[in-house]
């Protein structure tokens, strides 16, 4: 029961998942739409409980045992609590039962998202520019033939995409574009074939119950 039932379900939903691509009949298409837009969405929503439960327990535990840096766990727990309250009761557009503004100052969930989460994420993303420079400095060394190739193409493409290059070496931007459209495409396509086959094999093994890692090692 603990193993057979999940394996049976995987087989059934697996076959059901594959059919709509091949069968245009509206009976199948409607069922598939309903499955994707209701069933999967609702089940997915519930899974968030697992996650949030885990992070709260993890940090409560830190606070209780006064582990290193436990003070920051309070920051996390309190901000989680406040944003959830504002969001759940203040409504997603700020028109819920909880008032989300004092005078002209709005603190509804969208504002919090745009003014706090978005800048935090965008800054984290932009840090990549710095990391690219240090990675290039540290690792782009002509140690071997392959490493030299990597270094040289990165160099050419980088130089090819600044205006200066078009004046110094007029053909360079075109060459950079050629690298992107010819050898780079070949490598990506070649790898893609293998990855697709690997994906197919894993999916098959899951549906047929051969691959059971997801059950948590229960053989």
């Amino acid at each position: 029961m603990k193993v057979r039932l999940p394996l049976l379900l995987v087989l059934i939903t697996g076959i059901f998942g594959a059919l709509p691509f091949l069968i245009p009949h509206h009976v199948i298409q409607t069922a598939d739409n309903e499955f994707r837009n209701s069933v999967l969405v609702i089940i997915g929503a519930f899974s968030l409980v697992l996650g949030v439960g885990s992070i709260i327990r993890h940090h409560m535990d830190k606070v209780r045992r006064k582990r290193e840096h436990w003070g920051y766990s309070w920051v996390l727990l309190i901000s989680l609590l406040i944003t959830s309250i504002i969001g759940l009761f203040g409504g997603i557009d700020g028109n819920g039962s909880l008032p989300t503004h004092i005078g002209n100052f709005h603190f509804d969930i969208q504002t919090i998202f745009i003014r706090m989460e978005v800048p935090l994420g965008a800054t984290m993303f932009s840090i990549l520019a710095f990391f690219m420079s240090s990675a290039a400095y540290r690792s782009f060394k002509a140690r071997s033939f392959e490493a030299t190739l990597l270094l040289l193409t990165a160099f050419i493409v980088m130089f090819g995409s600044v205006p200066l290059s078009a004046y110094l070496i007029p053909k360079l931007p075109h060459f950079a574009e050629w690298i992107l459209t010819v050898p780079s495409t070949a490598a990506k396509r070649g790898m893609g074939f293998g990855i697709a086959l690997g994906g197919l094999a894993t999916s098959l093994k899951i549906i047929l119950g051969i691959e059971r890692g997801w059950l948590g090692g229960t053989k």
Binding site: P24, H26, H58, L200, T202, I210, E211, W214
Partner: protein, 383 residues
Amino acid sequence: MTMIEKLKDFKIKRLLFNFLIFNLLILTSIYAIEPPANVVAKDNPNDGGGSILIQWRISPSDSILDGYRILRQQQGSTEISEVGFIGRGRISFTDEGTTDKMKYTYQVVAVKDTSEVASAWSNPATSKPQWFDTNRISVVVFTILFTFLIIYFIERAKKGTNLFVRKIPGLAAVDEAVGRATEMGKPILYVPGLTGISDVATIAAMNILGEVAKKIAQYDSRLIVPNTDPIVFTVAREVVKEAYIQAGRPDAFKPDSVYFVTDSQFAYAAAVDGIMTREQPATNFFMGYFYAEALILAETGASTGAVQIAGTDAVTQLPFFITSCDYTLLGEELYAASAYLSREPLLLGGLIGQDWGKAVIVVILVVLTVIGLLTNLQVLKLF
């Protein structure tokens, strides 16, 4: 008539003439438009029903038209409704609002400004749903072929045929890396990618996690697994627990070592960066599917001096792992790694089936290219 009068007369005549020509032009521009011909309606193929394909021969005055209005009449009803408008130069339209089994006829109206000319009514047609999309036969053929190859080799593996898999560089480092962490008394960080449980890369990451966790349990090192997907988190925790049981050390398993962080990509990256700098793991594993955060994680890890082993099938992120990590499993090597590490016949059999699949692809590429170059056969029509 004097010269001046003659001239005047001529001018008036010319004016009149111009006026006439002008009017004629306007008139022809209104009446010259011709209707499209040969309007044929038929069930739209390979669909779920509810649509009819209408085709026609283009109007001779197409170049000056605004476009075509498509009118529909249901058989047995006098009501005519407009079902769509399409630009000039087009010769077909799909009416997506039909009821199956009803008979409809269509008229295509050429439109220019306010003038319209209608074609004759088409043949009656009905729409019906299809049970199989004939455009996708090639997909079915390939699926059957590859499924056969994979299952065949898995069965052979089950029977105990000795299966060879070549050494994968980087995997030898796993043992060494775990040992090093133990010596240094530092933890090991395992990041299982950012995609959900049904992603192949995540499944491979879970398999590798199981093997790594077994070694960690034997060496008695500490493991940290932060997660960004709630379901992957539960699976990861079970996998680690099971690995500790298999290693004979169930008591050493700490449930708190596997936890969920957030499903937001960059918040997760910020958290893992924090873990790496505060806990100073001796070894970082990045296995699974990654997006732009790949380099954020790998560069921060490199700055803490950790040994880093990465593996991903996210081709766009591979360059960043290659530059910042000590060992990187490229694309498919990630899947192969789980088979190689566990030596489990089922996984090995699947891997060899995939190899044969690749061989088939190479053969198809070469053979069809040779045929395509030597003959005029439309080889691409096969797909």
